[in-house]
Amino acid sequence: MFLLKTRKHHNRVRRLPGLITENPVLALGLALPFVIAASYSLRAALCVFTGMVVATLPTVLLASLTGSRLPAFIRTPVYALCAMALLLPAEALLTAHFPVILDSLGVYFPVLAVNTLLMHLCEKEELWGHPLAALRRTGLALAGFGAVMGIVACVRELFGAGTLWGMPVSWISWRIDALLFPFGGLIVIAFLAAGCRAIGRLLRGALYQSDQRLQRDMLRDAAHPPRPDGVDGTPISK
């Protein structure tokens, strides 16, 4: 099949795994409880995202350096311990700035030490022994996680509480309290995932149609090549 533009798009998108394709939250469903529990406000989302970055990035780096050398039964506890050790100073730092938010997050902040995104990335065998690739892959996955978290938190805080970063938004005169409940977060994520899939499908469809048109033009040109000068009475160009 003639899929020039489609393949080009596919190759371009494939270079950013985690951010566009294989989004950890929307496509793989990883770290979903954190997005639902913490995305009721932008501040809470920032706290959880910071904790996620602090716990995940160095731990995945450690996993990429030691992964194949550690026996399987000890790997997960080591990763969890490492993430816990990193989360302790992060929690102290964030508590100084957002004491109420950290208090309201409760167990969701410490539990970041054993989140599914972290374990998924640590156990990726193709990243073992390649620390730079591991850092890049983790960075992209965290960016994807952060993007989803930010969008969901914005929507929920704006339409659920009528505020943004704690400041009231004047043009919101009504509120949907249900958005602040966990099921509201699930519904927003579900619609976001469906929307992303629909946009991706539309884009792929448009590219495929474009490829088909291009192929038709090329076949037509091949079947009816432009006539050389002078044939059938056409004037000879000088």
Partner: protein
């Protein structure tokens, strides 16, 4: 043969089932108009209009065929106002209907694909977002303005008094049966709703096991564990006749898409819903627990169907083996 298969012909169809429900819903609306005036009917028409618009938009987005022969959304739209007070603002009703169809029904594929009861979802959404409007009721036989907001004095229902641990003072038993008590505009008319149940059971639209086992479970739990200091039989009466318990058992519990397919599964499902409803009523945050319990139990329906199918397969196999043994002997 001119048509494509399947060639099975059956009297009942999706359309006949929904038409049966629509017929009895008109009776309930008639009583609502009697108690609250023309506003009750206008709320129903408005809700149906919103549902029609949602239907068209969602079907266009999903590239489904738009047809007027399918009434399931109309049933949902007519059930939701009956769960709410007659004084409910039109905007809240519209939000509930939009949520029921756009979030609870069409994302799952539309007709026949929804996992959760759309009407229960719409009511739950309205109850969570606007509890002050949803649980404040006008007095029956009070003429409400057709348009505009309600300016009269709202009262609480018997379900609220029970939730607060008190004994309702709603008059005698007959008044409760006739629906002359404050409450949701369609759910208080117990006699009419029971007549609707009878009609639907005789027509085969609703399987009798669902409402009977559900109400029996609720009654049993109310008798065993009264929420206020009163005799067991009084507790049963108040629990069953307050809120939307009987209305929900008739119009929501046995929705064909979200209820089990066989009688045995239906019994288990009804008992589970009954237990969950009473737990929600006792420990939940709202005076009405049925829609939340129903949504929770809807999630277990595929499991009930699977377990039921496995059980029946075993029974069929056992019968087959025994009949073969008899032939051999």
């Amino acid at each position: 043969m001119t048509n494509a298969p399947p060639y099975i012909r059956q009297k009942d169809s999706c359309r006949t089932l929904t038409e049966d429900v629509l017929i009895v819903l008109f009776a309930v609306y008639f009583m609502a108009v009697y108690y609250y005036g023309a506003r009750a009917a206008v709320l129903g028409v408005f809700s149906a209009g919103v549902a029609f618009l949602c239907d068209i938009v969602c079907k266009l987005l999903l590239r489904q065929r738009i047809t007027l022969r399918e009434h399931s959304s109309l049933v949902t739209a007519l059930v939701i106002p009956l769960l709410l007070p007659a004084s409910i603002p039109y905007s809240i009703l519209a939000a509930a209907v939009v949520f029921a169809l756009v979030v609870m029904k069409y994302p799952f594929g539309g007709v026949g694909g929804n996992l959760f009861n759309p009407a229960a979802g719409g009511f739950a959404f309205a109850a969570i977002c606007f509890p002050r409007d949803v649980f404040a009721y006008p007095t029956p036989l009070e003429r409400l303005d057709i348009f505009g907001s309600y300016a009269g004095r709202s009262v609480t229902s018997a379900a609220y008094t029970l939730k607060a641990g008190g004994i309702p003072s709603v008059g005698d038993f007959v008044e409760m049966l006739l629906g002359n008590v404050p409450g949701p505009m369609g759910a208080t008319n117990i006699l009419v709703v029971c007549a609707c149940l009878l009609y639907l059971v005789i027509r085969g639209t609703v399987r009798w096991q669902g409402p009977v086992f559900f109400l029996a479970t609720c009654a049993g739990l109310a008798w065993l564990f009264p929420r206020a200091s009163m005799p067991g039989n009084e507790s049963v009466m108040y629990e069953l006749f307050s809120g939307i318990l009987i209305f929900g058992a008739v119009f929501m519990l046995m929705e064909p898409v979200t209820s089990p397919k066989r009688p045995t599964g239906t019994m288990l499902y009804a008992v589970l819903t009954g237990v969950m409803t009473m737990l929600f009523r006792r420990f939940g945050g709202f005076e009405e627990g049925f829609p939340f319990a129903l949504l929770l139990c809807n999630a277990f329906v595929p499991l009930f169907d699977l377990a039921d199918e496995l059980l029946h397969r075993k029974i069929r196999r056992a019968r087959l083996v025994s009949s073969e043994n008899e032939k051999a002997s």
